[in-house]
């Protein structure tokens, strides 16, 4: 500070070295975790496949044929067989990645935005605002997540929009709870007190101190929800409450292929395997991020 009485010359002249930023440290730790890196590569590959799918599918994913229904894996020209309407499984799985990933990731992103806002407000403002928000959240917490998703989506009716809405509502309470807990913790730190004493406005404190310190842990928590969201979103389509035919989506494909488990069992199991690979990869990346960022669960 300018008030310092110590002579300036006493300050040793150390060559200024830029310390690596927080995210650089996290990235360095994350890179050393082979499992997490492997899972991240799988997710990147799935995303690239999803984006490029319309141009790279070997067959037309919508072209059906009565003549080649339910061909086994390894059929010439149809390496992963064909579905109950004779459509190419490989092409449909590739194109299906689009909707499946979209339906799994979007609700968590939306819930992250809304939930952390609600939680940070509750944690920062405190008092009766906190009580009102947190008690409302407790009510939603009183439902098992699968039950709440199905209740909302069942009442709203089938469709992508309704499925996304129900999933978002289900993921807001847990994210808001974490956000509230982290914010309450940060708020009582000395540096926030110091900022307030030096005249920083509430908005500045939230922007610089609360967001800067709380968003990381909230984000890690949110990433751990993507895997659940993938399973639930595909589950809704599996029940007929999400994506509607003929659009390919893994959960829906699993549903329409259920009748084929006695004729072409391994073809019928393929969409579920895709959901599993995606969900476990997200879980492993999230675990890796958690330990790289040193967040306690």
């Amino acid at each position: 500070m300018a008030l310092s009485l110590a002579p300036k010359a006493a300050v040793p002249l150390v060559p200024f070295e830029r310390s690596p930023g927080y995210w650089a440290t996290v990235w360095r730790k994350f890179r050393r975790d082979p499992v997490a890196v492997g899972a991240a590569i799988v997710i990147l590959a799935l995303i690239v496949m999803a984006i490029a799918a319309p141009w790279i599918t070997p067959q037309d994913p919508f072209r059906s044929s009565v003549l080649r229904r339910l061909r086994p894996i390894g059929t010439d020209g149809f390496p992963l067989g064909t579905d109950e309407l004779g459509r190419d499984m490989l092409s449909r799985l590739m194109l299906g990645a689009r909707l499946s990933l979209f339906m799994g990731v979007t609700p968590v992103l939306m819930a992250f935005a809304i939930g952390s806002t609600i939680g940070i407000i509750a944690g920062y403002v405190g008092g009766w605002v906190n009580t009102a928000i947190m008690r409302t959240i407790d009510v939603f917490y009183a439902f098992p997540s699968v039950l709440l998703t199905i209740a909302l989506s069942g009442a709203l009716g089938a469709g992508i929009g309704n499925a996304l809405l129900s999933l978002t509502v289900v993921f807001i309470p847990p994210i808001a709870r974490v956000a509230e807990a982290v914010t309450t913790q940060v708020r009582s730190r000395d540096y926030v007190e110091a900022a307030r004493a030096s005249g920083a406005s509430a908005l500045t404190i939230i922007r610089v101190h609360v967001l800067g310190n709380a968003l990381g842990p909230i984000f890690v928590y949110a990433t751990s929800l993507i895997s659940v969201a993938m399973i639930l979103a595909s589950g809704l389509s599996f029940l007929g409450l999400g994506v509607r035919p003929p659009d390919p989506e893994w959960g829906l494909m699993l549903n329409t292929l259920r009748t084929a488990i006695y004729t072409q069992p391994w073809v019928a199991a393929l969409p579920g395997a895709m959901i599993f690979i995606t969900s476990i990869s997200f879980n492993l990346v999230s675990d890796g991020l958690r330990s790289a960022m040193d967040v306690k669960s």
Binding site: R135, T136, D138, V139, F140, A142, F143, P144, S145, V146, L147, I150, A151, L152, G154, A155, L156, G157, S227, M230, I231, S234, G235, F238, L239, G240, L241, G251, L254, R258, I261, Y262, P265, W266, A268, A269, P271, G272, A273, I275, F276, S279, I280, F282, N283, L284, D287
Partner: protein, 317 residues
Amino acid sequence: MLAYIGRRVVYTVPIMLGVSLVCFALVHISPGDPLVSVLPADASEQLRLTMMRLYGFDRSYPEQFGLWLWRAVQGDLGTSIATGRAVATEVLRAAGNTLRLAALATVIGFVFGCLFGFVAGYFRDSWVDKLASLLSVIGVSVPHYWLGMVLVIVFSSQLGWLPATGAGPGGSSSWVWDWEHVSHMVLPAITMSVIPMGIIARTVRALVAEILAQEFVIGLKARGLNEVGVFAHVVKNAAPTALAVMGLQLGYLLGGSILIETVFSWPGTGFLLNAAIFQRDLPLLQGTILVLAMFFVLLNLAVDVVQTMLDPRIERG
């Protein structure tokens, strides 16, 4: 401790009110006229108004909620539109089937979860630990409805060992504890047990590792207590939390059984929900969800109370 339990019980009342409000709102967020499914397509305006009055849809929302809640408290959850039977009867019958399945799944999950968790916690960073961690990641990442299908493919379609669907031979509706019936339960129960298994294994592993690192364990060892004696202390310290997690998992399974019940055509609450959704049977949907959610709230309360009684250290404010 009694004060804590009292506070905890009182705290449950507003939660239950909130849960009822959400269940009540389900019918009203539903698009379209809720009477459409009960009325014939050519119903006269007169009939529509009579039905509206009969179902109470002509009153204000707070009035409707009060009336609905008052009836629900007395055990009247309305009448199913599809079957014309009382919702409460339908839900209770189905709940018995789901509870049986979920309880068996929880027991399987608890036994194996504890086994993996203890071994992993005792031999940290060994290959057993890595295997147990892998299993628990798989347990929480696998889409269980798909796992159910794979088990059906392997054990019913390929090997022919176990039946794939239903709760008894020839669609029998009454439950008997014989192999004919129990064999129908094996695959869905194993499928269902995977989630609690992973979560319990994770919890127990962390608990055991934490307890073993505490000074009293070193103290016990220093005083010459053998491994079995130390193990008994570890179990005693880990039990309250592990049991609490198990209790909550039972609740999650009961509420989340719809996907597994759909795969296995198990005649429980999930199957009922599925039917309610596709027949647009809103009273049945609402009633089933209300019963399951209330059960979950009460289970949470019971778990908290039992946990406090087992381990007075965790008495919370």
